[in-house]
Symmetry: C2
């Protein structure tokens, strides 16, 4: 581990963590590194366009080169490439928005988003991050990770996003076991009031979970009696098809 590189990584992630512009002193406090060290690293990151300084003597922000990194990540994502057609099909079938996401630290981050097939204004959420424990995508994904990954994620502080967000590690651990057993996750207003989610894990050729696919939309539509079951089946079979597309075998967990 290169200490300087790890610190610089933390600086970049601090700049991505909510407040878009931070001063040297603020960053120094957030990442617990002395100001001259932060200053030198910011100058170095600025050199490659990963960070920009607003004005002479002013605050720092992420620079355009990180957008290029993000885009290159998406371009190189086989999960994203292969999910487009399955996701489009599910959106038409379900009449709802479909997201495909991967795990990134304590969050899931959306790598593909098919808009709900209607003419209403929607925001493309590719790149959006949501805490794993507060959404169906996150639970579906994490439920299929190794126990030590789950232990790590459950040991970290869990943020409450709405009054309904479950943040008790024991309750979540039990929920993950249930999700794993039945092969899909359902979330009801834990990430956003008024919205629910249904998601299933996606596996690759080696049998490992590489992401999750799911629908997200208004709770009164998604969880309506008689409709939830059909949506769940549609989500699961689409996730299964996507897994197969990625080389997963028939015996993959959740793919029975």
């Amino acid at each position: 581990m290169t200490r300087a590189v790890d610190r610089a990584s933390q600086i970049l992630l601090a700049l991505a963590s909510g407040t878009p512009r931070l001063g040297v002193s603020e960053i120094s406090e957030l990442v617990d590194v002395p100001k001259p060290t932060v200053f030198t690293m910011l100058r170095t990151l600025e050199r490659r366009g990963l960070v920009v300084q607003e004005a002479e003597g002013g605050k720092y922000a992420l620079g355009p080169a990180v957008l290029q990194l993000g885009n290159a990540f998406l371009d190189g994502s086989e999960l994203r490439a292969r999910s487009a057609s399955w996701s489009d099909m599910l959106a038409r079938q379900a009449g709802e928005a479909v997201w495909v996401a991967v795990l990134s630290g304590p969050n899931i981050v959306v790598v593909h988003h098919t808009l709900r097939p209607d003419d209403l204004v929607q925001i493309l959420e590719v790149g959006a991050a949501v805490p794993w424990h507060a959404c169906a995508l996150g639970r579906a994904l994490v439920a299929s990770t190794p126990d030590e990954t789950q232990d790590t994620l459950l040991a970290a502080p869990l943020r409450r996003l709405t009054g309904k967000t479950v943040v008790d590690p024991n309750a979540l651990r039990q929920e993950l076991a249930e999700v794993r057993a039945r092969g899909y996750a359902v979330e009801n207003e834990e990430a956003t009031l008024g919205d629910a989610g249904i998601a299933a894990p996606v596996f690759d050729w080696s049998g490992r979970v590489v992401g999750a696919l799911g629908i997200v939309g208004p709770v009164d539509r998604l969880l309506a009696e008689g409709r939830q079951g059909r949506l769940t089946d549609a989500v699961r079979s689409t996730a299964r098809a996507l897994s197969r597309d990625l080389g997963a075998g028939r015996a993959t967990p959740g793919a029975e």
Copy 2:
């Protein structure tokens, strides 16, 4: 300048430069750093999710955390936030796709893309990078940068994308002077065969150029006689309005 951090930045940018998966030896050659050093830095970047290793002993790729950085950059971009409505208006007016871009090293990178207002299938290009010299957006932007920035960009190797791409530094320098004088750039099949672009620079409150806004589309539509002039006027007045929205004064270069 922190040497280790600069090297790690180069490793990240190498992973974004075209081939999505690279081995330790390949990266070592690309960035001219010994393999054990590359290895240790990759492990450090992996720790924060900026890089992932495909399989044990395998190749490395950018990780999901860079997508979060890219998204955070977009979320924090005032240029992007303020350009959305102006860009939508111009797209309706011109009947073409509208891009807003910033400079990132030798490329421009798209921060906002309004789709052409028709029902044909289009790909959202946010995050896409194009060499500055090969597109109208890049020329419009660079023409308004300080001389030393232009000198730096013209000194670097310039890639030819089509048979029509101008790569002679002297010819480009003259073109930049002309772009600056008239306040907009036009590009004809230099980035993509069949496509042309018209763009104008965007300024902020301090009078500095912060981006460019332009339309991109089929050359026979954009550069049609009688139409090019009207499109140019529409692009320039939209860029001017966006600049005003960002606090630029009336006397800003290109804003007469």
